[in-house]
Amino acid sequence: MTALHLEFDVAGNNFVSAGSASDEVKKTLKMLGVGAQFVRKVAIAMYEGEINMVIHAGGGRAIVDIYPDRIVIVLTDNGPGIPDIELAMRDGYSTAPEAIRNLGFGAGMGLPNMKKYTDSFKIDSVVGKGTTVTMTVNFAA
């Protein structure tokens, strides 16, 4: 089977559409018969990534490739970049402003959740240029 390739534009600062790319991917995986526990991991990791682009980066692009045994998600933005990735990865560390926290975000669990629910997770970030997150979830126990 060739990979199923999906691309999504994620709009910045738009909480009406936030999560819609993740929802599309989730529906596609369910349709393909991928196991519920893997679909759940993908939904969590991708939603967190999508929300990060909405909140911090003025939006970005999600490129998704679905193979029989795994999914690879690449999230790219032209946002401010992450100066200290190790610090950003810490549970509970957040730079989300008060207004965003009032919406229920900013728990500082976005990046940790993305790492926790994926089988491989990589961040490339350049301050002033943007961030690319690459995540893989394998469809096997």
């Binding site: 909480f15 009406v16 993740s22 759940r40 969590i44 939603y47 229920g104 900013g106 728990a107 669990m109």
Partner: protein
């Protein structure tokens, strides 16, 4: 536990109800969406006071069966529209979260 029995126990108001017969297994209380999406079990009932549109996205992605808005918090108009659009189950109770959980035990 059924959604119908929860509605009765809480004396809750229905915002949207598409699957009244859906069985609930487990539950979660919280307002930080990152915690909810990762910790609420599938088919669970979620108690929160958060009432914006992101609640619908999290409920959908985490396969949460029923969202209970507590303390009489009403969903904002965007959330109400999204809940109907996505066919989600959502109710409102005047009880605080702790009292609401006790009431359905």
């Amino acid at each position: 536990m059924s959604i119908e029995s929860i509605i009765a126990d809480l004396g809750a108001r229905i915002i949207n109800l598409e699957e009244p017969e859906r069985e609930i297994s487990g539950g979660y209380c919280g307002d930080f969406l990152s915690n909810v999406i990762s910790k609420a079990p599938p088919d669970s009932v979620w108690f929160t006071v958060m009432n914006n549109q992101n609640v619908a996205a999290v409920q959908t992605l985490a396969d949460i069966a029923l969202t209970v808005l507590c303390e009489g918090v009403e969903p904002d108009e965007t959330l109400k529209a999204r809940v109907k659009d996505k066919g989600l189950n959502m109710i409102v109770t005047d009880l605080p979260v702790y009292e609401a959980v006790k009431a359905i035990e």
